[in-house]
């Protein structure tokens, strides 16, 4: 079904403009048309369908479900809910406080918050559409593992000691607030959503997500197309291949301050992989760009002390580097 987009690009670029796919400009334009058309169609269809299915999943319910769970099960559940719950990163702080004041351990909350930006419907749709289901599966497993192990680590160093005083106090005096649950009852946002309420939620999600990501699609595909058409064949493989161990930490260090979301990064990844950048390096770069950004760290400062922020930063740096090396090693051995 996805060849259809390649044929559309053939029609526009080769037949209408008379360019060849083999020359630079033709190759880059073909890549651009094929990928942008494919991404937008996939996004519109999938975001709508996924939103329809999960319209009744709210963070308040996740909190009630997670509170008082077994700790070790909690990391897995926190990470899994982080992956599937509709949640915008601008709500990180209230969500953090909501979980914390319900007595949920910081590690489990962080499992949720670390996994959430890494794995979301947009990232999954793009990865599956551009890089295939096998890569997508690997990405999901790795993303959830980083979330779970990161959470486990933060609890093992008792990260709650390094919260800001008021957040620490909320954690110590934990009791679940009921205010939001009440309004949810009143406004009909409970379990039994009607189909029209679900449709309304899905349309809201669709317009909200598309209005945030459309420009990233063009930027990401544009950079990907430029790499595709204008970086000489073999250059990346030769200079950034898996022979150079330092390329992984360098990719991660470059990725963390870089602010982009998954939508912009994945088309670049597609282009880099076909150009011969090792899978592990690419994965590490993508995850570090998506998982952490400076604006978000500055937000987290409201609830965390500098020391905890620094620990979090190093934690991400180390875990993505390990992910990169691991997958470069596995693909070198022929597993991927």
């Amino acid at each position: 079904m996805l060849e259809w987009f390649s044929r559309l690009a053939d029609f526009l670029i080769v037949e209408q403009l008379g360019l060849s796919r083999d020359d630079r400009l033709g190759g880059a334009l073909h890549f651009f048309v094929e990928d942008t058309s494919k991404i937008f169609v996939l996004l519109v269809v999938m975001i709508y369908l996924i939103a329809l299915a999960r319209a009744s999943l709210r963070v308040e319910r996740v909190r009630d479900y997670l509170a008082g769970r077994n700790r070790y099960l909690g990391y897995g559940l926190g990470s899994a809910f982080g992956a599937i719950t509709p949640f915008c990163s601008c709500s990180s702080i209230p969500l953090f406080l909501g979980f914390t004041s319900a007595g949920i351990p910081i590690g489990i909350t962080m499992s949720f918050l670390l996994t959430s930006p890494l794995i979301n419907e947009v990232a999954i749709v793009l990865l599956a559409g551009l890089l295939g289901w096998k890569f997508t599966l690997v990405y999901v497993v790795v993303g959830m593992s980083v979330g779970m192990l990161g959470g486990l680590f933060l609890d093992s160093i008792r990260a709650e000691r390094l919260l800001q005083a008021f957040a620490r106090k909320a954690f110590d005096n934990a009791s679940a607030p009921a205010a939001v649950d009440n309004i949810i009852e009143n406004s009909g946002q409970n379990d039994s959503l009607t189909l029209s309420a679900r449709h309304r939620f899905a349309m809201d999600e669709l317009t909200d997500i598309l209005s945030r990501v459309w420009k990233w699609v063009f930027i990401g595909v544009g950079v990907g197309a430029a790499l595709h058409g204008f970086v000489p064949e073999g250059w990346i493989e030769q200079h950034l291949g898996d022979g150079q161990w330092w390329s992984v930490p360098a990719a991660v260090a470059l990725g963390i301050p870089l602010y982009a979301n998954a939508t912009g990064v994945i088309p670049v990844m597609e282009s880099l992989i076909t150009q011969g950048l090792p899978v592990g390096t690419t994965l590490a770069f993508c995850m570090s760009t998506v998982a952490a950004s400076f604006p978000e760290f500055i937000l987290l400062k409201q609830v965390m002390q500098w020391r905890l922020l620094a620990i979090l930063f190093v934690l991400l740096l180390v875990s993505f580097t390990l992910v990169g090396w691991l997958f470069n090693g596995l693909s070198g051995l022929g597993f991927l």
Binding site: E60, C88, P94, L95, S101, P177, A179, V180, V303
Partner: protein
């Protein structure tokens, strides 16, 4: 006179929420004061976990999205 607080970290959605409440209040001729609050402790007090959230006369009415026009009209006219 209704006192309306829009809780949120200052993202675009929070700004849009405050703007649309002010606009609709003006159209309906309802007197309101709308303030934007970014204090995380206030959000915690109201049990808000997703923003933007809307608090009217101290009572939480909505959270997690830009409210629809019909909802805002209902709050203002009640």
């Amino acid at each position: 006179m209704k006192t309306i607080q829009v809780l949120g970290s200052g993202c675009t959605k929070c700004r849009k929420t405050a703007e649309s409440i002010e606009r609709i209040a003006e159209q309906l001729g309802v007197e309101v004061t709308v303030t934007k609050e970014a204090d995380p402790q206030l959000m915690m007090q109201h049990g808000v976990m997703t923003t933007p959230a809307v608090v009217i006369d101290g009572r939480l009415q909505h959270s997690g999205s830009i409210p629809h026009r019909d909802e805002i009209e209902r709050w203002l006219q009640s």
